[in-house]
């Protein structure tokens, strides 16, 4: 493999923090940007926007269903609303509102879920979303983004605002390893190839992208050439990158901090069988996790680089 970025395994801000900062910048650039939150503005980092533009911030209290539809009403009147909460609450309590008031009429609403995955840590599974990719991608017409680090989140929040149509952005609680710099550019729907490689492709999204990069480094030391793709966009899915990976590497591992049987992996598998069938392995969780440190949980539930290495070797061994 050949790494296309400078990766030093340095820890940067959480993607939720990057989201909060990007919002403030958006607010400066465009007075139509408005923000709603449901009593979690300190955790979603929308409080930066709230402080900067109090008249464009709407506190909805602990009432996520109403918040989503309030946002759709604002969007229907020409605003660009970002409605935010924990991913588990905005999607699970706002799904019908996202469907009927945003997806179905194609309204320009931006929904943001922070505290995705199990890496939120001590608060435990009631606050973790391990089904948000599934729910968000079940909204026809939605664009679903899951950036891996600060720079990609910043760029993609702006891209989401510029995109006309409903968007869901998935953000994490934990600090995220730095992959990109502020000068990197991102296109919605186009995966980023972080490392070229020919033996296997490692597809990650969110925090798992860095684990894929680390795994690729380990694999290289063992003589295995791994391609690494950052699927910052889960929907629309980059069919082209998938079919090329299948054709050129013949083996794919998908890694996500999500239920393994209804997330990015299943969508990639669908494209693989529709285009170029190849062997695949999937890394994710299959049950609700528990309290613990983020690092401890990722380790226990098999979401770290060493698990990716093992899966890569396994999938390669399955190639005919």
């Amino acid at each position: 493999m050949a790494l296309k970025i400078k990766f030093e395994n340095k820890i940067g801000p959480a993607t939720r923090e990057a989201f909060g900062k990007a919002l403030v910048e958006l607010g400066k650039e465009n007075k139509d940007v408005v923000v709603c939150d449901a009593d979690l503005s300190k955790s979603t980092y929308t409080n930066g926007f709230q402080n900067a533009f109090p008249e464009r911030f709407f506190e909805c209290g602990i009432a996520e269903s109403n918040m989503v539809a309030i946002g759709a009403g604002l969007a229907s009147s020409g605003k660009i609303p970002f409605v935010a909460s924990f991913s588990a609450f905005i999607l699970n309590k706002g799904f019908e509102q996202l469907r009927v008031t945003a997806a179905f009429p194609n309204v320009n609403l931006k929904a943001v879920g922070t505290h995705s995955g199990i890496s939120i840590g001590e608060d435990g599974p009631s606050q973790m979303s391990i089904e948000d990719i599934s729910l968000a991608t079940s909204l026809a017409g939605f664009t679903v983004l899951c950036p891996a680090d600060e720079a990609s989140m910043t760029a993609l929040v702006k891209a989401a605002a510029a995109h006309v149509g409903p968007v869901f952005i998935r953000a994490g609680r934990s600090k995220a390893a730095i992959l990109y710099s502020a000068s990197d550019t991102f296109t919605i729907g186009k995966a980023v190839e972080l490392a070229s490689g020919s033996d296997v492709t490692l597809i990650g999204t969110g925090l798992m992208v860095a684990e894929c990069v680390k795994a690729a480094q380990t694999l290289e030391a063992e003589g295995v050439s791994a391609r690494v793709l950052d699927f910052h966009t889960v929907k629309p899915i980059d069919r082209d990158a998938i079919s090329r990976a299948a054709k050129e590497t013949g083996a794919i591992v998908v890694v996500e901090e999500h239920l393994v049987d209804c997330g990015l992996g299943t969508r990639v598998a669908q494209v693989v069988t529709e285009t170029t069938p190849c062997v695949m392995e999937f890394i994710g969780v299959d049950t609700y996790a528990e309290s613990g440190t983020p690092e401890g949980l990722l380790e226990k539930y098999g979401l770290v680089a060493s698990n990716v290495v093992t899966a890569a070797k396994k999938v390669i061994s399955r190639k005919r």
Binding site: I70, G73, S77, G78, F104
Partner: protein, 304 residues
């Protein structure tokens, strides 16, 4: 869309909150002529009811009861209250109307067509594949609609969002939303009620079509709402109880709502489900059952 504008002679507008703005120039706004004339409005209601029966009979499915109960409410809004221009349905400063109880769309389609938003002669394609008159309001097919509805509980939140947007823009636009009384059982209504009261979204007016019947039977048997006025008051709304079939009362209540500052207003509009057709009145069967051809004839014979 081929939208022949109906020309009906009308009195001067009741409410003249509207002041000329850039929008009127940009959008070439020619306000729909409003009227206070009750006889004239009664005539509109009569032809609306006939249209509802005809549409639903042609479709062989649909919801006559809740369409008929809301007729005076929707007609009064479009003909006496809303600042709107059927030729410019996206004029930013227009008042908004949302039928949250989307299953009652026949009344909305009939009134919108009558106002010139959309073709009268296609009303009888209701619920057919490709029709702009979908089984529930669908903006993809009829962009002049303010919202796609059909999943109960969402319209009040939408109206509040529109109300907030109007305030941000310094627009005189107001948002009106009609809820079913069964719909008021949805928790989202109370989330929205709390939000509206707290944020004082006084450019929103909610109308509860209190026809006392929902899908499975009478509201009092399914999940009673009483005391409904107390509920809304305790959520900090200005509450007006009206006879939802009395156009004069409705006009006065809407005027009072517009004059009420610092609080949103809710009209508890006491109505009769199936109003105007003897055998449909107060009859749960006609919540969601189309009349047979014979029943339709009987109904139309009464609606004269």
């Amino acid at each position: 869309m081929d939208c022949a504008r109906l020309l009906v002679s009308m009195d001067a507008p009741l409410v003249t909150r509207f002041t000329a703005s850039d929008d009127t120039l940009k959008f070439g706004i020619k306000m729909f002529p409003l009227t206070t004339d009750i006889d004239q409005l009664k005539a509109v209601c009569l032809r609306t009811r006939r249209q509802i029966i005809e549409m639903i009979t042609a479709a062989k499915s649909g919801h006559p009861g809740g369409s008929l109960s809301a007729t005076e409410i929707v007609v009064t809004l479009y003909h006496s209250i809303l600042r709107h221009d059927p030729a410019n349905p996206k004029w930013p400063d227009r008042d908004r109307f949302i039928l949250s109880k989307g299953h009652a769309c026949p009344v909305l389609y009939a009134v919108m067509a009558d106002c010139g938003y959309c073709p009268v002669d296609q009303l009888n394609t209701l619920r057919q594949m490709g029709s702009i008159y979908q089984g529930h309001p669908d903006v993809r097919f009829l962009p002049a609609l303010e919202a796609s509805t059909g999943s109960l509980g969402e319209g009040l939140s939408l109206a509040l969002g529109m109300g907030l947007a109007a305030k941000l823009d310094g627009s005189p636009a107001r948002a009106y939303v009609v809820l079913g009384d069964g719909e008021v059982q949805e928790g989202q209504i109370w989330e929205a009620a709390m939000f509206g009261g707290f944020h004082q979204v006084d450019n929103v007016c909610c109308i509860v079509d209190r026809n006392k019947i929902q899908l499975d039977g009478f509201v009092k048997d399914i999940m009673d709402l009483s005391p409904l006025v107390d509920k809304w008051r305790s959520f900090n709304w200005h509450v007006i109880e009206v006879d939802g079939h009395d156009i004069g009362e409705l006009q006065k209540a809407f005027a009072e709502a517009a004059d009420t500052k610092g609080k949103p207003t809710v009209l508890i509009a006491n109505t009769i489900k199936g109003k105007g057709v003897s055998f449909m009145e107060n009859n749960p069967k006609f919540h969601g059952t189309a009349p047979t051809k014979e029943e339709a004839e009987k109904a139309l014979a009464e609606l004269v």
